[in-house]
């Protein structure tokens, strides 16, 4: 019996979410009196995972898996889960994690809870707390099947060092043509920018910015903070910013440590997309803007005066 964690990597490097799921898996293994095994696919140096508690790392190397393919990855995870006698499987709730976990769940006849935000409150019955109603509530969900899959929400547990002397084992996974019914033809990535999914800090702006020509200061602020840029729905609808930056109910969800909203009033659909962020800062001229009720810190003021000051002061702060 083991706890298996899928540690996702990109170009040989582990994502922060991979370190988070390993940290989380280690703790669950302790709760269950079990051991934690991490699975990697075409990752480079896996020793980093020992630092976060992986007692064993199962490595799968296969050139056909260089590009993410949900069905093929799901097949590999299933094979390793069976080989390792895994009763609990942990996958992050990233875009790729949410793509492959339901496929694995059917393959393993496992119950699946996505967007889980905490360690199991109870392991018998196995009860996890997950986001519901667009982060306006949580549901305490019991996974009743023998095998269980937890989809861990980003930034909900944290990354904790817990060094162990781990071992590595390579695994020959079988993938067939049938696993590649969906083929990747082209990946179009915005390069050189922090993505909303990876960002610990997101700087977002709305119609209060008055026009796309004023986004320079938003990008500069994001640059100083190492943040991703985002926007409200009206801004993407107006074509001021790309749709990929739209945050909200029907746009991208954000679960950053810090979310700075500039010139965004805080419509309920926007708040539904950012509820999971830990600390929210609002800068708005309207003291009645609904966002102030959802925010931790706020400045009632003109973005065109406040943001340049903030950039300068943050530069000085970072330099000190």
């Amino acid at each position: 019996m083991s706890v298996l964690v899928f540690a996702d990597s990109s170009e040989g490097k582990f994502k922060k979410t991979a370190l988070e799921v390993v940290s989380y898996g280690k703790k669950i293994a302790e709760q269950l009196g079990s051991s934690v095994v991490a699975l990697t696919i075409n990752a480079g140096d896996v020793s980093e995972l020992y630092k976060y508690g992986a007692e064993k790392v199962v490595t799968v190397s296969n050139d056909s898996l260089n590009t993410f393919n949900a069905k093929a990855y799901a097949s590999v995870i299933k094979q390793v889960a069976i080989a390792q006698n895994a009763t609990v499987l942990i996958i992050d709730s990233s875009i790729n994690g949410l793509y492959l976990a339901p496929i694995v769940a059917v393959g393993l006849e496992a119950g699946y809870a996505s967007n889980v935000v905490a360690l199991p409150g109870n392991t018998s019955p196995f009860t996890v707390k997950r986001k519901a109603f667009s982060s306006k509530a949580f549901s305490n969900t019991v996974i009743t099947s023998d095998k269980k899959i937890i989809g861990l929400a980003k930034n909900s547990y944290g990354v904790y060092e817990n060094s162990v002397a781990g071992t590595t084992e390579s695994f020959e996974a079988t993938v067939s043509d049938a696993d590649f019914g969906v083929k990747s033809e082209k990946v179009e990535r915005v390069t050189g920018k922090v993505t909303i999914a990876d960002a610990d800090i997101v700087v977002s702006a709305g119609r209060g910015l008055k026009g796309p020509e004023n986004w320079g200061m938003i990008e500069e602020l994001a640059g100083v903070l190492g943040a991703a840029t985002a926007c409200s729905k009206p801004v993407s609808d107006l074509g001021w910013r790309p749709h990929g930056e739209h945050v909200g109910q029907t746009g991208k969800p954000v679960a950053s440590n810090l979310y700075i909203a500039i010139g965004i009033s805080g419509a309920i659909q926007h708040l539904a997309g950012i509820n999971a962020s830990k600390v929210k800062v609002v800068i708005n001229t309207d003291p009645e803007a609904p966002f102030f009720k959802a925010a931790d810190y706020g400045i009632v003021g003109d973005a065109f005066e406040v943001v340049p000051q903030l950039i300068e002061k943050l530069k000085a702060f970072k330099a000190s």
Binding site: A70, S94, I95, N96, L98, Y99, L100, P102, I103, A105, V106, G107, Y112, A113, S114, N115, P125, T127, A132, F133, S134, S135, A137, F138, S139, T141, V142, T144, S145, V182, K183, S184, E185, V187, R189, V190, T195, I196, A197, D198, I201, D237, H243, G244, Q249, T250, I268, K278, V279, V281, F292, K293, Y297, I299, G301, D302, E305, Q309, L310, K313
Partner: protein, 248 residues
């Protein structure tokens, strides 16, 4: 092409979220239910295929009779017929099993759904359905074209998009981008009148075991009042973010 669109019946996005029966049931009192927004994008894409390329569009929901107004709305938008599987949708796997039966019995080429429902946010039904039916599957779809049985689809990835090629039969979980929000349709009077006469078939659920149950709900702890900082004192904001919130 025979298209099936999966429709979730969800509380309107502006609904107040409350629970009853010792926090074990969602309080539907005063709540307006709508077509799940992600499903609405997929339904609109299905209507596009129907009108431009020729297709029949069936909508399906797993739910009690309370969901029928939502299915009628989908019919008013232009779907040809509707199926309701008579079951309380308590678990994503159970819903996927019911939908898989409908798919197997209906001979559909393309199944469209939303990326997730905005109530339970599981995001698992389309992937489970595709696996149960052995259909190809594209999640988080933001664009697609069908040419014969060949499909080109675009999905969202972190920091960009990925273009995929695949073929029918196919399950697609759509989101904004598969059509734009401005292209979503509001039922007109003629559509509403016609929808009343369109077939809505009720079928009984197939036996299956749930893999999860919801024990209880809880709401986030009440948040303290916002701390306001003077507009000419951003040093104080930086101080709070560094020393109090510890996020910079």
């Amino acid at each position: 092409m025979k298209i099936l669109v999966c429709i979730s019946h969800v509380p309107d996005t502006t609904s107040k979220i409350n629970f009853t029966e010792n926090d074990t049931k969602f309080d539907t009192n005063g709540v307006q239910f709508v077509i799940n927004p992600y499903d609405e994008f997929s339904l609109t894409r299905a209507m596009w295929f129907k009108e431009k390329q020729g297709a029949t569009v069936t909508v399906v929901n797993v739910g009690s009779s309370a969901t029928e107004p939502t299915l009628r709305k989908a019919l008013a938008i232009g779907a040809d017929d509707a199926i309701r599987v008579n079951m309380e949708p308590t678990d994503g796997f159970l819903v996927a099993k019911q939908l898989a039966e409908v798919v197997k019995n209906g001979g559909y080429d393309l199944v469209l759904a939303g990326r997730e429902s905005i109530d339970y946010n599981g995001g698992m039904v389309p992937g489970m359905l595709a696996t149960l039916t052995d259909f190809n599957f594209v999640n988080g779809c933001v664009g697609m074209e069908v040419d014969g049985t060949n499909v080109s689809a675009t999905r969202e990835i972190d920091g960009g998009n990925e273009v995929l090629s695949t073929s029918l039969p196919l399950v697609v979980a759509g989101q904004k981008g598969i059509v734009e929000e401005k292209d979503l349709r509001i039922p007109n009077m003629r559509g509403i009148m016609m929808a009343r006469k369109k077939p809505l078939q009720v079928i009984e659920a197939t036996d299956a075991n749930a893999t999860t149950t919801i024990q209880s709900f809880e709401k986030p702890a009440p948040k303290g009042a916002v701390k306001l900082v003077a507009a000419d004192n951003v040093d104080e904001l930086i101080n709070l973010l560094h020393n109090e919130a510890k996020v910079i």
